[in-house]
C-alpha cells in the first residue's frame, strides 16, 4: 500500500483495489492505507476526552466501514466504552467520511448539506431549458429550471403536450447555442405523443440553430451542428408508455436506475399525470398518499440527477357558492408538489400562460402561439426567417408549409 498522506483523508487515492464494489453511498474506500488515519480522527474527537484509537486497532477494526457497520452497541461491547461514547466516535468517523466523500457523487443518500452561498453559485451556473417563446422564458426567469418540478395545467387543446414536446427537443440544444445539451425522458399516459409533430418541431429547431450559426460564424457552432441533427434529436428522447397508475408509479420508481445509466438526461416529462389517477379511483386518501409519494420521488430524481421534471395536469371545475371556476385537478394537496406552476388558458381565441407559483418569479401572464414550428411568441422577435405567428390547429398537419418558406 502506498504511504498515507498526512492529511490522510483525501478523496483521490490511487488504491489498486477498486472502490466500485458497493452501491452503498456510505461506503468509503476499502483502502488499507487509510486505516491508520481513521483512529487518529477519532482521537481528535473534541472535548469528550476519549481516545479509542489504540483500542480500535487492538480490537481488530481495520477500516472505517467496519466501524460504521458494527453500530454503537456492538462497538461499545467490543472496546468496552459506554454507548454514548461509542455513538460520538461513530459520529466523528461518519462526519470525517462525509467530509471527503466525493462531492461529485451528488450526495445521493448521504445528507445533502450546503451553505446558501454554495447553492447560489451552483444556481448561477445552471442552465435553463428554453421554450423558444421568449415571453414565456422571461416570466419563468430564463426558461424551465433544472432540479425543480414544473407543472403545466390547462384545459384540453390549449397546448400542454405541444409545450412538452417542444421542451423535449429544446433540452438537446447544444451549450454553445444556450441550451443544456441533455437528453429527455418522455412518459406518456394519455397516448398524445405524436412523432410526426416532434419531427416538425425538431426540424424547425435545427433550422433555427443553423441560422444562428450562419449569423455568428463561430467554430464551435459548426462543430455542434454536426451532431445536432434530426435523427440525433429523435434518438435521444426516451419514450415510455404507461397505461394505468401502477405502471406509472413503477416507472417513476425505476427511473433513478435508468437515469444513472443515461446520465445525460436533463428532462423528465410526464404527460398526463392526472389521467391515470382520475377515473376509477374510489379511495381518495389512497390517491393522495400515492400522489404525495410520487411527488417526493420526483423531487429526489430532479435533485439528484440535476434534471428538470415537467408534469402536465388537467383542469377540473370547482363549484363555489355563486360561480364555478376551473382549477387544476388532483386536489389541494397536489398543488404543493410542484415548485413552479404554469396554467395555460384561453381568452377568447388567444392562448395565455399564467405563472401561478414560483419561488423566484412573480405572477404574470403572457400570450403565446402554437405554430407549425412549435411553441412561439405572439409577435415573433426580429430575427430574419422566423415564421409568422399564424395560428394553426396543432392537430392538423400543416399543408401550406412550402409556400411560406422563402
Amino acid at each position: 500500500t502506498e504511504p498515507a498522506s498526512s492529511s490522510g483523508l483525501s478523496a483521490g487515492t490511487q488504491s489498486p483495489r477498486t472502490h466500485a464494489a458497493h452501491a452503498d453511498p456510505l461506503t468509503r474506500r476499502q483502502n488499507g492505507s487509510d486505516t491508520r488515519e481513521r483512529p487518529r480522527a477519532c482521537a481528535e474527537a473534541p472535548p469528550a476526552g476519549f481516545a479509542p484509537g489504540a483500542r480500535l486497532a487492538a480490537a481488530g477494526f481495520q477500516t472505517a466501514q467496519e466501524l460504521l457497520d458494527t453500530g454503537p452497541c456492538g462497538l461499545s461491547k467490543e472496546i468496552g466504552i459506554s454507548r454514548e461514547e461509542a455513538l460520538e466516535a461513530l459520529q466523528v468517523v461518519r462526519q470525517e467520511c462525509h467530509g471527503d466523500a466525493a462531492r461529485p457523487a451528488g450526495g445521493s443518500g448521504a445528507t445533502r448539506k450546503y451553505t446558501a452561498l454554495e447553492l447560489l453559485e451552483e444556481e448561477q451556473s445552471q442552465g435553463f431549458i428554453i421554450t423558444f417563446c421568449s415571453a414565456l422564458d422571461n416570466i419563468l426567469g430564463g426558461g424551465v429550471q433544472l432540479t425543480k418540478i414544473t407543472e403545466i395545467c390547462g384545459a384540453p387543446g390549449v397546448g400542454k403536450t405541444q409545450l412538452c414536446m417542444q421542451l423535449a427537443v429544446d433540452v438537446q440544444i447544444p451549450e454553445c447555442f444556450g441550451g443544456v445539451a441533455g437528453e429527455a425522458v418522455f412518459i406518456d399516459t394519455e397516448g398524445s405523443f405524436m412523432v410526426d409533430r416532434v419531427v416538425d418541431i425538431a426540424a424547425a429547431c435545427v433550422q433555427h440553430c443553423h441560422l444562428i450559426a450562419e449569423a455568428q460564424q463561430e467554430e464551435d457552432h459548426q462543430k455542434a451542428l454536426e451532431t445536432f441533427s434530426l435523427e440525433n434529436i429523435l434518438s435521444h428522447i426516451y419514450y415510455f408508455r404507461c397505461r394505468d397508475y401502477t405502471e406509472l408509479l413503477a416507472q417513476v420508481y425505476l427511473l433513478p436506475e435508468f437515469l444513472s445509466e443515461h446520465s445525460k438526461v436533463r428532462l423528465v416529462v410526464i404527460d398526463g399525470i392526472a389521467f391515470p389517477f382520475r377515473h376509477d379511483f374510489e379511495d381518495l386518501s389512497l390517491r393522495t398518499r400515492l400522489l404525495n409519494g410520487l411527488a417526493q420521488q420526483l423531487i429526489i430524481i430532479a435533485n439528484d440527477h440535476r434534471a428538470a421534471v415537467v408534469l402536465t395536469n388537467q383542469m377540473t371545475t370547482r363549484i363555489g357558492q355563486s360561480q364555478s371556476t376551473l382549477v387544476p385537478a388532483l386536489g389541494e394537496s397536489w398543488g404543493h408538489a410542484a415548485t413552479v406552476r404554469l396554467i395555460l388558458h384561453w381568452d377568447n381565441s388567444q392562448r395565455l400562460a399564467t405563472l401561478y407559483k414560483s419561488p423566484s418569479q412573480k405572477e404574470s401572464t403572457i400570450a403565446y402561439h402554437i405554430t407549425s414550428h412549435g411553441f412561439r411568441d405572439v409577435q415573433p422577435p426580429a430575427v430574419t426567417h422566423s415564421t409568422e405567428g399564424t395560428e394553426l390547429n396543432p392537430r392538423k398537419r400543416p399543408r401550406a408549409e412550402e409556400e411560406k418558406q422563402q
Partner: protein, 179 residues
C-alpha cells in the same frame, strides 16, 4: 401554512435572510420540497443591505440540508442535536433557528390507510423539534399545507388534529382577491 403559491417558502426565505443578516445568527434550513432558491434569497439580502461582504457572510451563515423523506429529516435533526450538545464550535457557529420547509411533504405519504407508523413518526418528529427548541433555545419554524374536506369545504390545515397541538403559534397565509 397556506395554499399553494401563498408565499410560505418566501416567508421562510425572508425570515432566514433577516435572521442571518440582521441578527448575525446561524440558520439551518431543512428543505423537503426542493423550493429553496438561493438566487431569491440573494435578492432579498440585496434589498436589505448594499454591502457585498455582508451579503456573502449572511449567505454563509445559512446552512441548507435537502431532506426528502421523514428518515432523512429525523437523522438531520439528530445530527444537529449531537453537534449542539457537544458544543463543537465549528464553522456553523451559534445556531439560533431551524426552518423546516414543508413538514407535510414528508409526512403525508405515511399517514392514513393501514399504515400505523405514520402517526408515530409524526409524533417523533414533533418531539425532536420540541426538545431542540427547548434545550438549545432555538426558534423552530415549520411550514404546512392546507386541505379541504370536500371540494366545497373550507380550507383547513393538513396533518390533522394530532399535529395541531404541536406548534405553539400558527400563521395562516392566504391571498384574497383584490388585496
Amino acid at each position: 401554512m397556506g395554499a399553494p403559491g401563498s408565499g410560505k417558502t418566501q416567508v421562510c426565505l425572508g425570515i432566514a435572510a433577516s435572521v442571518s443578516l440582521g441578527l448575525k445568527q446561524h440558520v439551518l434550513f431543512l428543505d423537503s420540497t426542493g423550493g429553496f432558491t438561493a438566487s431569491r434569497l440573494y435578492q432579498m439580502l440585496q434589498a436589505q443591505t448594499e454591502d457585498e461582504e455582508e451579503q456573502l457572510e449572511a449567505l454563509q451563515r445559512i446552512q441548507v440540508v435537502r431532506v426528502f423523506n421523514i428518515y432523512e429529516v429525523l437523522s438531520a435533526l439528530q445530527e444537529l442535536r449531537d453537534r449542539l450538545s457537544q458544543q463543537v464550535v465549528s464553522s456553523t457557529g451559534p445556531l439560533k433557528m431551524v426552518l423546516l420547509d414543508s413538514v407535510s411533504a414528508v409526512i403525508y405519504p405515511l399517514l392514513g390507510g393501514r399504515q400505523s407508523e405514520g402517526l408515530a413518526l409524526m409524533m417523533q418528529l414533533s418531539r425532536e423539534l420540541k426538545t431542540l427548541a427547548r434545550e438549545f433555545s432555538l426558534a423552530v419554524v415549520v411550514t404546512n399545507q392546507v386541505t379541504r374536506d370536500s371540494s366545497t369545504g373550507p380550507l383547513k390545515p393538513a396533518l390533522g388534529r394530532s399535529w395541531s397541538f404541536v406548534p405553539s403559534t400558527r400563521v395562516l397565509l392566504e391571498s384574497k382577491e383584490g388585496s
